[in-house]
């Protein structure tokens, strides 16, 4: 459904952050994009959703298309209209609005009142926790609840594709599990495609169909999630499991580190 073809992105016209990224999200699939910090994962998401422009970033080459329509030249508003909903990093709830108002903002573009009402109910079914707080100012929700709210808000736009940026960031292990379970359910029950950017490789690959590994603005490895999970390098560098299959202890990390780099 979504095709990113060989895009290059630079900021302020000088700093190149993506060097020809290509990836694909199939209809109804979950795709995980994993990799080191500063590797360009978030930038990739922003390039897709058009938010890059609001930060003086620029797509300098390649193209992005959604269902064979090019979207790389559009503004974020138009892209959102086409059915891509982004959940930004850092639980960006609209703090002073109530939970329900937050969700209504998500449905801003939609004209079908009945559909919106249904979807509101649906979101509350997925996230029963936030139903209790519907009239509460969202800034006072806990981290996990806020993450649920922003995912719910993105869902209210009735998207075809959702982009999740680090949904587990700064969340307790329990909350991470809960959110990932719901995300998987959303994917299965509503057929929404998902592109998830994650540091928590284990969680992301746990529900993904396919995965891409990104380093320094390049895709260095990709494959079905099952396969990636078993990849030695992924295991060692992203999941902290040594080749013997035992998790490494942080205390044992040496002052000099063995670094393996693809492509460099």
């Amino acid at each position: 459904m979504l095709k990113v073809n060989n895009i290059e992105v630079s900021y302020l016209g000088v700093i190149r952050v993506l060097h020809g990224i290509s990836l694909e999200v199939g209809s109804g699939k979950i795709v995980a994009l994993i990799g080191a910090n500063g590797g360009g994962k978030t930038t990739t998401l922003k390039a897709i959703s058009g938010l890059l422009r609001t930060e003086q970033g620029q797509i300098r080459g390649g193209d992005i298309s959604l269902a064979d329509k090019r979207i790389d030249q559009l503004g974020p508003e138009s892209i959102a209209k086409m059915g891509i909903s982004q959940v930004m990093e850092g639980r960006r709830v609209l703090e002073h609005l109530t939970v329900e108002e937050n969700l209504q903002v998500g449905a801003y573009r939609r004209r079908d009142r009945a559909g919106v009402k249904n979807d509101l109910e649906m979101v509350y079914t997925y996230f029963p926790k936030i139903r209790d707080y519907r009239k509460r100012v969202s800034g006072y929700l806990s981290g996990g609840e806020q993450q649920m709210l922003v995912i719910g808000r993105a869902l209210m736009a009735d998207p075809r594709l959702m982009l999740l940026d680090e949904p587990s960031l700064g969340l307790a292990p329990m909350a991470v599990q809960e959110i990932y379970e719901i995300v998987q359910r959303i994917n299965q029950e509503r057929g929404v495609s998902l592109l998830i950017v994650e540091q928590n490789v284990k969680a992301a690959l746990g529900i993904a169909d396919y995965g891409y590994v990104m380093e320094n603005g390049r895709i260095v490895l990709d494959g079905p999630a099952e396969k990636l999970k078993d990849n030695e390098d992924v295991k060692e560098f992203y999941m902290g499991v040594s080749s013997s299959g035992v998790r490494k202890n942080y205390r044992e990390v040496k002052h000099y580190r063995r670094r393996k780099r693809w492509l460099s």
């Binding site: 909903s85 930004m88 006072y140």
Partner: protein, 296 residues
């Protein structure tokens, strides 16, 4: 006692005027976090346009009002597009400086365009007289009161119950998020400036009818800023309450304290600022402002 009530009523009317101008600030601040110091200048230019439509052009009052609203719309669009949009994403200080510079430009325009002359249009606006016993309400202020109430009611409705109002409140919180949800932030900003300018221009036309117009009229903007600060930067209700409060207090101070001052007083000019400073020391977010939800 009559003296007290006279002061009170006059203060109330003046306060509504402050509130009307303050609302212009609040709208802009609420939605785009821009602190518009030029609101007083918008009012002043509005008054000059009101004069031009009513006196040299001799338009009927209602057409003049509509024409003024048109001027407000254009003014809002021009300011937003040329001055504020290039600054999207810049720090708050840059935006404050921009509006200060805009104030300079607008003062300059008033002087270039109308020679900075003092002009009046006294008997053109409809006269409403109201007498409560021995106390009389200034007609122009009464008109201001009515217009303020209408404007506030409309704005409240928009904010509370309409979709565009929701979009405006959402944009106020987080521009990027709202854009990613398909709300055109630039449209919201333009709309916000248009509303603020229209409110300002209408206020200016009314105010000019009371007192005549000259460039220093814009100083009322600074007083209205004190009102905004007192009411809390993002609260329309707060602006109204604070406006009325300051108007009354200012008048009472001028009436009762001025004669006690060593040099005749003139307290009316500074009283709002003194109160504002005192309140700020005790309540740093104003009387009715949202306390930002802070998580360290």
């Amino acid at each position: 006692m009559t003296f007290f009530f006279q002061l009170f009523v006059t203060g109330l009317a003046l306060g509504m005027m402050y509130a009307l101008i303050a609302i212009g600030f609040v709208i802009i601040f609420k939605c785009s976090q821009a602190f518009n110091i030029a609101q007083g200048q918008i009012v002043m230019l509005g008054a000059y346009f009101g004069y031009t439509f009513l006196m040299p052009l001799r338009l009927p009052v209602w057409i003049a009002i509509i024409a003024s609203i048109g001027v407000g719309v254009v003014m809002g669009l021009v300011i937003e597009r040329l001055a504020l949009r290039p600054l999207l994403g810049q720090p708050a200080l840059a935006i404050v400086m921009m509006t200060i510079a805009l104030a300079g430009v607008m003062d300059g325009i008033a002087i270039m365009g109308w020679g900075g002359n003092y002009v009046t249009y006294h008997d053109v606006l409809p006269e409403l007289t109201l007498k409560l016993g021995a106390v009389s309400v200034p007609p122009s202020s009464l008109l201001g009161l009515i217009v303020s109430v209408i404007v506030v009611a409309i704005l409240m409705f928009i904010f509370r119950y309409t979709k565009i109002g929701l979009a405006m409140r959402a944009t106020a919180e987080d521009e990027q998020v709202t854009r990613s949800l398909g709300i055109k932030a630039t449209m919201v900003y333009a709309l916000v400036w248009v509303i603020a300018c229209v409110v300002g221009v209408v206020g200016g036309v009314l105010l000019g009818g009371v007192s005549g117009v000259s460039p220093p009229l814009s100083e009322i903007g600074l007083k209205a800023l004190a009102v905004v600060i007192l009411g809390g930067l993002d609260s329309i209700g707060g602006a109204i309450l604070a406006g009325v409060m300051l108007g009354i207090l200012e008048n009472l101070a001028a009436g009762y304290l001025d004669p006690l001052m060593p040099s005749g007083g003139g307290l009316a000019g500074v009283f709002p600022f003194i109160i504002m400073l005192a309140v700020l020391i005790l309540k740093p977010h104003g009387l009715f402002g949202l306390k930002r939800i802070e998580r360290v």
